[in-house]
Structure formats: structure tokens, C-alpha cells
Homo-oligomer: 325 residues x 2
């Protein structure tokens, strides 16, 4: 009886959690209350010197400073969640995060010892997906596939409220699903025809450059030296025919990739995030028809939503590792 | 304290479970002990008259007969697991199983009321996968993708020991992943280029017919009027060049499909079952190279195993819903 009572107290005494999103340039941090309200949000520089050995001590010092400033006790803190680049196994071990300088790194152990607080961690794309499920575009759903269309294409899959981490920490990495083996240019991963080559901001710019080089059809896009993904969807909104063609190509590849993803994950909802998603609902005019053409009928009821948390998805998801449910 | 004690007793008193695998022709049943040993195995006819309304009463009567014969008490039985064709939601509701005559059918409720025992259910392909994980080719793994290569291609995905049921009950239905949009013939589902069209027994026979019609290259397969999947792999084992070409085509499509599946599920192991898997380990000579060509590097450590339980996978998996772990 005594033990049970202690456990019960331990679970309920904490009032706050921290969410940490480690990026290649900055570390974003958030201080949340039990209900998941973001009470404070700040950033520190990601110090990548010396194989990235200062990154977690810097995070710990930054969190200690907030604890001190707010006069919190250790037992007020439920835990510290961390999203990190790279492959992160179920036990929180980062296998290798090249852009931080890290080889193997057990975040819960290392940061937990520095802070003397419970720490959980996961891959940044998965954690961002978890954040969107908890407080963003995926609110109210339990099973979700999120794709983050930025410089690359990140993916996160949530099944029944749980992150699909994967055996090698690469669960839901749909950006490197090969969807066009006929592609002539290599992807950053060395293979050809990955979804990322068509659905990332970089990929859309590449589709645009290709399309514009193919003929002399007039387009507002020709006024620009370098056409970005934003330029393409701005021109789509103006009704530019060439931009619409490019949008359709983007949609065809992404819709196909999401239909293939549905064959495995059968999610309730797809959430589209990242810089490209700022184009808004118009993206779905290009993604959905392609999805419906490629997907088995069981998957046609899936919803499509835009991400809502922007760059804060990572800190929400990280804090959610302790606060969600 | 009293309640806790009762719960504890309830969990531990049962000594046996039943596993039921409902097929379009027969229902397979198994009686298992706590450790998952199959003590008795039998079949009954699937009575599809009257919209399939006799199927569950027949199952109940058959189980009652065993309970009586073995002089068991209700509290000796931990539960009855059931695998069923069709889409089965997480609550055990079959959405529609056309080949049984069923519309919506809640198996746990209906069979549970007939037997006054706990009943759990799931889709037959998922349940078979669960059986292979528990007692077959996937033993020792926690995350697995199983494909059953029979008349069609069934799929089941297990993540961290839990069946991926999916929002519409079609989780892991990789047989209808579209992998060749250039296909001219329609799949049974009405779309074109589904994995099932190349990797099922029927699909392999179709690949063979196409290849043989393409030229007059000599092959032992020309001696047969109808070439089956078994004929193809028998000829592969004899070194027949045309059969090896057909095997390579099969492998290319299936390897591609499994690589795409890995991008979502990142499993520890792929288990290949169904009639086609009787060809043996030689299948992997054709599947693996294609998989390695298509898969992102993180997924290259996945193991490939043959299913081991054959037609009993369903009853094992069904009983496993109560006995596994």
C-alpha cells in the first residue's frame, strides 16, 4: 500500500514540463504547464564544436536557469522531452546525428544525469508529428501520418497515439520512399527518385526549373532568376498555367507517396507541415486527386489537414512525451 | 484490496484459450493451453446461407462441444480469439466480409454473448501475422511485416508487439499498394498495378504467361498448359533461364513493395507466407537484391524469414490475442 501511495504522489505532484527541439543551428526550448500551455519559449545556439559535446550541457544549463528564475523545485517538473535530428531508437539513443557532430548519444541518460530529472527523447520529425497530434493540426485524431515539407521531407507516423519509432529509428521516414526509379538526378541519400526529390521545397524548385527549361510557354515564373516553392504556389494562386502544371506534378508524386503510406499505416489523417505548407489549403487541390487515384478504396476516408504549430511543433511534441494523455 | 485480488484471480485462473480462423470454405479451430501449445485442432464447414448468420452460432456450438467433452469449466477458458476476412476495426467490428455474406458484424459481442466468454477478433491476415510473430517465423521479434502470398497478397504489420489495425481496418494491406501504374490489366480491386498483381500465386502465373508469350526462348515451362507459381519456382531450381527471369520480375516488384513498406514501418523482420512461400529460401534470392536496391539504407538490416505455421497461423494468432505475453 505504501509503495502504491508514493507512486500516485510522484505522478501527480509535477506541474510543469520542458520541451526541447535540437536543431543544427539553434536549440528551441519551451516551458509548459500540465495542460500543455506554453508558458515560455526561448532559443539557444547549438554549439557543435568538439563533436557536439556541449549541446546537452548547454541545454541543461538553460533549463537550470529557468528553474532558478522561477524558483521551482525538482519535484515540480514532470520531465524534459527532447527531439533530436538523426535516427533515435526506442530507448532514446541517437545512432548518429552528423549535423550535430554526434556519434552514438543516449539523450535520456546524459541529459537525465545532468538535470537529475526524467528525460525522454525521439527523432525530431516524429516528435513534431506528436506535437501536431497533441496540440496542432492532428488534434482529436489518434492515428496520423505527418509529412514536413521543408528543405527535405521529414515524416512521422503515429499509431493509436504512439510514435512509430521503427527498428532502426527510421519509422515513418517516407521522404526516402522511392517513387520514381526513372529519375536521372540523385537524391541526397545517393538513391534516385525519392519522394523528397519532388515534394520538398528544394524538390518543387527543381520541378519548376525543369518545367521552365522544357519550352517557352509564358509564365510569371520566368520573371525570377531562381524560382522557389513559394513562387510556384503564389503563381498557382494567380492562375498561372505553367505553375499549375508544376503544382500538379508535385501533387502527383506526393499523393502517390501518401497512398503507398496509407497501405501500411491506414491513418485517420494526413497532416502537412513545413515551409511548403504555408501555401495553405490549395496544396490539397493537388495532393488529394492524386491520392484518390492511387489509394485503395479503404483509405479514401482519410482527412487532410495543415500543420498548425509551425516551428513550435517540436517543443510541443517533446513536452507532450510527458504531458499528452 | 478485495477488487484487486479478484482481478488477479481472474487473470490467472484460466488455463486454456481457443483460436478460430474463419475462412470462406471452412472455419479452423484450435484449443490451446496457456503456453500456447496446440492441444487439439479441427475444422467445420463455413455455412454461408442466410447472410452468414449461422457461422458464429456454429463456431459457438463447436467450442461448447469441446468444453463439454473435456469437462471444462467456463473459468478454465481465458478467451476465444477470432480471425475473420474483411476489414475489422479495433473494436472487433467487421465492416463487411462479402465472401461470408456478412455486412457489419461485431464478433466479440455476438460470439461473446453466445459463449459467455471473452472474445477478441481481428482481420485474418493481421491475425496470421500475429501468430507467426508469437510462434512461427517471426519468433523473437517485436516489429514485423508479414506478406501472405496466396491467391491474393495479404499483409499484416506488427509494431512493438501490437497489430497495426488501421483507422479503416486496412492497416498493412500492402497487397493493394500500387507499384506499377503502367500496368494494362486491372487488379481485382479495380485499380491497376497493385503488388498483388505480381507477387500472388495468380500474379506469378500471369507474369509467366506474359513472359512465355513474348518470344520462343526454350523453357521447361513450355511443357505445361497452365504454368503455376509452383511450376515457376520448380523450374528456377532446375536453372531454367526463362523461369529465372520470371522469378526476377516477381522479386523486383515484391522487393520494391517491401522497401516502400519499410519506409513507413521500419520492421525488424519481413516474414513471407502463403502457398508461394513453399518454394522456400530461394525466394529471398530474388526478393532481397530488389529490396536492397530500393530501400533507404536504414532499412537494410531487416531480416527475411519464411513463415512456419502454414494454415495454422490464423488459429495461433487468434489464440495469441489472449495468450501471447
Amino acid at each position: 500500500m505504501f509503495r502504491i501511495f508514493l507512486l500516485w504522489k510522484g505522478n501527480n505532484m509535477g506541474k510543469y514540463a520542458f520541451g526541447v527541439d535540437i536543431g543544427g543551428t539553434t536549440v528551441k526550448l519551451g516551458f509548459f504547464d500540465r495542460e500543455g500551455e506554453l508558458l515560455e519559449r526561448w532559443e539557444i545556439i547549438t554549439r557543435k564544436d568538439d563533436g557536439g559535446k556541449w549541446i546537452l550541457p548547454d541545454v541543461a544549463a538553460s533549463i537550470e536557469a529557468v528553474i532558478e528564475k522561477r524558483k521551482l523545485h525538482r519535484e515540480d517538473i514532470i520531465g524534459v522531452g527532447v527531439g533530436s535530428p538523426g535516427l533515435v531508437l526506442a530507448d532514446g539513443t541517437v545512432q548518429s546525428a552528423v549535423n550535430l557532430g554526434w556519434g552514438k548519444m543516449n539523450i535520456p541518460k546524459t541529459l537525465g544525469e545532468l538535470l537529475r530529472l526524467p528525460v525522454r527523447s525521439g527523432n525530431d520529425a516524429n516528435i513534431a508529428a506528436y506535437g501536431e497530434l497533441w496540440k496542432g493540426g492532428g488534434r482529436g485524431y489518434r492515428s496520423m501520418v505527418m509529412v514536413t515539407l521543408g528543405t527535405g521531407v521529414g515524416g512521422g507516423v503515429i499509431i493509436d497515439g504512439r510514435i512509430l519509432t521503427g527498428a532502426s529509428g527510421a519509422g515513418g521516414e517516407v521522404g526516402h520512399m522511392q517513387i520514381n526509379p526513372a529519375e536521372s538526378e540523385p537524391c541526397g541519400c545517393g538513391r534516385r527518385g525519392c519522394l523528397e526529390q519532388y515534394a520538398s521545397a528544394t524538390g518543387i524548385a527543381r520541378l519548376a526549373a525543369r518545367r521552365l527549361a522544357a519550352d517557352d510557354h509564358p509564365s510569371v515564373l520566368r520573371e525570377r532568376e531562381h524560382v522557389s516553392a513559394k513562387d510556384v504556389f503564389d503563381a498557382v494562386k494567380e492562375g498561372d498555367a505553367v505553375a499549375i502544371e508544376i503544382g500538379s506534378q508535385f501533387g502527383a508524386y506526393l499523393g502517390d507517396g501518401l497512398a503507398k503510406t496509407a497501405s501500411v499505416a491506414d491513418p485517420e489523417v494526413f497532416v502537412i507541415g513545413g515551409g511548403v505548407s504555408r501555401a495553405g489549403e490549395i496544396l490539397f487541390d493537388y495532393i488529394r486527386p492524386a491520392y484518390e487515384k492511387c489509394a485503395f478504396q479503404s483509405y479514401l476516408n482519410a482527412d487532410f489537414r495543415l500543420a498548425e504549430l509551425g516551428n513550435d511543433a517540436g517543443i510541443y511534441g517533446a513536452a507532450g512525451l510527458f504531458l499528452a494523455e
